[in-house]
Symmetry: D2
Subunit: 244 residues, 4 copies
């Protein structure tokens, strides 16, 4: 699976405003920069590009998506500023077979809500608490090599009820200091495409520099990628023959 | 479960145009009329109303939906004419706990696509062919009392690939004269709501007069109804305490 | 759903030995006695009987099972002493439509392993720690009326990886003081039968006296019961006709 | 994924008796021989061995299983003659991560029933009828390159209700001349292992020589294989620390 083409999308608003003020220190190249660096390190043959909300067409033109095997999505403050036409386009590519990794606060992105049909709401508290990520699907490729539990020293707390459809695969469950639990690693099949949602990672904590997190993201890219598939969404078909 | 409040929605375009010409003969009171009659017969205590595309707000005002335990949806020619604000409203009520039965060509309705996130496309051929409906979840309440297989003498043919997410429950599988197969009875949980898609039924065939079909629809209404649930969709929650 | 016939099975070994010594104090009528009392209180029309390992045929004769809508199973020390012929018989009744609630350390019972096909192993620690039970399927009948989270002050700790097949429905997730998580309320459909596994409850803690726990068990009984179903497991069928 | 170690198990009773009389003509090297030949052709780097009921320990010693990435299972007449200790051993290896492909009448094997917990019964008729295999999970690796539908000119008819748990993934649905439908390609995760059941193939028809069938079996081997996983089934774990 050499030469995967990966596009890391980030709204880039926290970075532009350096808010929170730790942002520039933790992610000097932006969250997209840290993600891209981790992917290049884990998947040396991958071709990684980044795209931002501020780019023309948010950097997600038809050409870019057609040249993308897996798209990562990170957003938080500006979900409403993403153009509906771009959401349509990304949805069409996912249904046609492009892999999609939705990260952390991307749970509230238009594209995630569009593909799942629910509010994608959850409970949250920001208190720099420990997150423990437990594997409940040890057979799954995304869980390979992951310690059980994986310890994230400081992280925003996410809690159930997480309003998503029952995932096609439940891979990781997290617990937090307050006793909260969260379905933190879940997959969905939609059309011809594969989606992996992974909740760890926040603008306040250096989670995307943690080696185990990078490994999970790399596993997720490998697992959602279908580089050999023609990029065609399912279509209505007028049946023109009988098979018996 | 007495006194369920059921709203039958129909676009009503075939009826208005008597196209196909058999329409007035098979469904003199409209598809909505036949559905309502069947429900009243099977669920004598239910309060059944009908609503049409041509009604103000398509007959689906906030008041009507708030007074509806289960909404049935039949549409075919005019999916694009349904106002987006009404689709938003129906989605919110489903996520809040209103039951939804989507019937036949309703697979291409905006509300079904919205709740599932996929194209909902399929293969089809109209040739008055026999449909056999097989039960693959005999434990399910919707399948109670249903013969295996159920024989529908004449029906439009629907075929895989049906572009839906893997259903939460697969209840019925159909086969057709040409050897096609179709996942004809499937359920989805979204938010607090329950959805049942059932494919038999078409403007050309008197399927909604068939007793077993009426029984399945009544089973589906009972199963999707949650009359005691407060109608509140999941919401984001700021956690204000620790549990340990 | 009046008059459900419920059989509470308990191995009764802890009770016979009063080991742990708190046993006689917490459960003077045995775990089966406390469960039966709770069910009678929550489901006043139910006919509740108890059965013990020490009874002839463990109290689970063909007659008893044929007269049982829902069987509860509690065991811990003596899983290996359950006669294989009784396990066969219970399995046959579950596949024929009898409801089964497997409780706590019953995860290691022969009948649970038999119906699931896996080791049903898990991680555990006994330290009188708090258990928080979170609802992740708010639409489910078993979750109706349950606080989120439900707090159990003291309980044995169970932890992932819990070696079960992916459940048909994931209803409850628990967390514990050490940060562990556990899929504590799960359902399985097998044959014509419905199974609910619920992990809270132990011989050292008065969990089965807690009102919310009693309510969940009553919900589970109502949900697994299929009193109107003929008690016939699926059988091989020689097809003697064509449907086309 | 070079060098997969594949063991093809066949009871070999039809072959020994040349009953049906076409057996020697269609499968002169036995069903196991035809399967092995197809695998060697599709997966040239695989090391393929065969094992028979008549072999000591049915050819499935601890050493053989420890040296097997994927086991194929074909049986029909002699399910009851398989030694329980061998079934235990195969189950342990599957739960530890060995891949398992169960073929056709293997649905009634002890190992399949053991891993699924149900009767695995179905409807059947032998009439040399056409089977159409439809893909309902086009995203799945096992479905890659498979025509939709795949046409098998002559085959035994299998029909629902197929008494299996809801599969973790439903990949193929078949229809037959009489209008029957069958879930013909399904996967299950059990413990650390992956199982693929595929129903086409019978002692009377040359199905295992058909190129598309060979391709599906090769896809199934690739997908169930986990050559890098330590072969350890899940075990109970006494937790010796707190994570918070």
């Amino acid at each position: 699976m050499s030469g995967l083409r990966v596009t890391v999308w980030n709204e880039g608003v926290h970075e532009a405003e350096n808010d929170p003020p730790v942002m520039a220190e933790i992610y000097p190249e932006g969250i997209h920069g840290a993600l891209a660096e981790g992917i290049r390190s884990e998947l040396p043959t991958a071709a990684v590009r980044t795209a931002l909300l501020a780019d023309p067409e948010h950097g997600l033109t038809e050409e870019v998506l057609a040249d993308t095997d897996v798209l990562l999505w990170w957003g938080h403050l500006a979900h409403g500023e993403v153009d509906a036409a771009v959401v349509d386009r990304v949805q069409r590519h996912v249904l046609g077979g492009m892999g999609l990794l939705v990260l952390h606060s991307g749970h509230f992105s238009q594209i995630f809500q569009r593909l799942l049909g629910t509010t994608c709401s959850l409970g949250w508290r920001d208190g720099a608490e420990q997150e423990l990520v437990w594997t409940v699907a040890p057979h799954h490729p995304i869980a390979q090599g992951v310690p059980n539990p994986l310890v994230i020293p400081e992280q925003e707390t996410y809690s159930e009820f997480f309003d998503i459809p029952a995932p096609d695969e439940l891979i990781f469950l997290s617990s937090f200091d307050g006793g909260e639990v969260f379905r933190s690693g879940v997959t969905f099949f939609r059309g011809h495409g594969r989606i992996f949602y992974f909740s760890p990672g926040d603008q306040r904590y250096p989670v995307y520099h943690q080696p185990e997190i990078r490994e999970i993201i790399a596993n997720g890219i490998r697992w959602t990628a279908q580089p050999d598939r023609p990029r065609t969404p399912p279509e209505v078909a007028k049946l023109d023959r009988h098979w018996r």
